[in-house]
Point group: C2
Chain length 216, copies 2
């Protein structure tokens, strides 16, 4: 039996590929693995059956036989260790690729998600613009640092890895904010990632799910 990935029935990003199941779909496609999908509504996501898979009531979760995992980073790492194509074989290079997975999720993503959250949760506050300017400055520090690291490189290390997969997907959340305009190296990097055939297949699959859920 193929593994089961639990995803939004109807992603709040309207199929733009920003929900966290996209990372797992992309990893599965890079690894050439089939999978099945279970959809959950926003209500079901917070109820007991899904909380048994993920106590935080989030997507994605992943089931493969006895193994039940949540956290997109953990699922991508599980797949990357099990299948070729997402981590180098040589041990130092492999550890460095895993390091970039953590950097994407614990250093680069948090200020980006924070900025996004302020965008909707503070919409009716008179101080939103002032706060967003502070958050933008924090995001820019990370973008500049990452951009300097990528000078003269196609990927974070020599070869594409699960670290790039997560980093590209984190940076994509900034689409439409204008924050990437000052770091063309990051725009090129995102373009290299999203041009991969595995990315396209994953993107099309999540888009098709959104479209199925919104048929009139």
């Amino acid at each position: 039996m193929p593994p089961i990935l639990t995803v939004f029935e109807r992603s709040p990003d309207r199929g733009r590929g920003l929900a966290r199941d996209m990372r797992v779909r992309w990893a599965l496609e890079e690894a050439g693995q089939r999978y099945e999908v279970r959809t959950v509504s926003f209500e079901a996501m917070k109820q007991a059956p899904h909380r048994a898979r993920n106590p935080f009531g989030q997507i994605p979760s992943f089931e493969d036989g006895d193994l039940v995992l949540f956290e997109s980073g953990a699922i991508v790492l599980h797949l990357a260790r099990r299948h070729a194509g997402l981590l180098p074989v040589e041990s130092v290079a492999r550890e460095r690729a895993v390091m970039w997975m953590f950097a994407a999720l614990n250093t680069v993503e948090p200020p980006i998600v924070e900025r996004e959250a302020a965008g909707y949760s503070e919409r009716d506050r008179p101080w939103q613009a002032e706060h967003l300017a502070m958050l933008d400055a924090r995001v820019r520090v990370r973008l500049d640092e990452l951009s300097r690291h990528l000078v003269g490189r196609d990927w974070l290390e020599r070869d594409f890895s699960a670290g790039d997969l997560l980093m590209v997907s984190v940076l994509q959340r900034l689409g439409g904010t204008g924050l990437l305009d000052h770091t063309p190296a990051l725009l090129d990097y995102i373009a290299r990632g999203t041009a991969r055939p595995a990315y396209r297949r994953a993107f099309d699959a999540q888009r098709a799910q959104f479209e199925r859920a919104t048929v009139p």
Copy 2:
């Protein structure tokens, strides 16, 4: 040669064990491994020699022969895979422990760090109290979810693992905020973690470093 851990010369938490090198020290002590320490000042942390170890100019970094790593989560995972005592041997349990490492760093820590950042960066804004109340509500959602998961358990899964090590260290950042008062299960959980002899040794080592740096 023992590995080298780069830490703050003088931690901004004044030796309370909240800097991210503490996680790595704790993991090294659980694994029974010796290590050496290199200290960096706030200025040196942002300059080229340290940026070569970590492009984001943060601590900790870790060097062991050919291997240079940054990101506390990645370093802890590296140690946990290499030495006994931090991950179960059986494969499903092992994957679940790694999953909790990601949950600590990508689901639980971000709103906690955000709240902390608002505490100092918005100190002179008239809207700080209103914003902190919003952030507190977000942190409480995660604390309640985690607390429900811990009912009847000593650790996140059956045995103590690197997932607990990171989760306890993330929750400790809430000390003094009052946010843990409504989740006694989490206070007990933190107390279990910090009572471990390996934690105490790591704590004492980082405290001694702070004291050495502040000798009059």
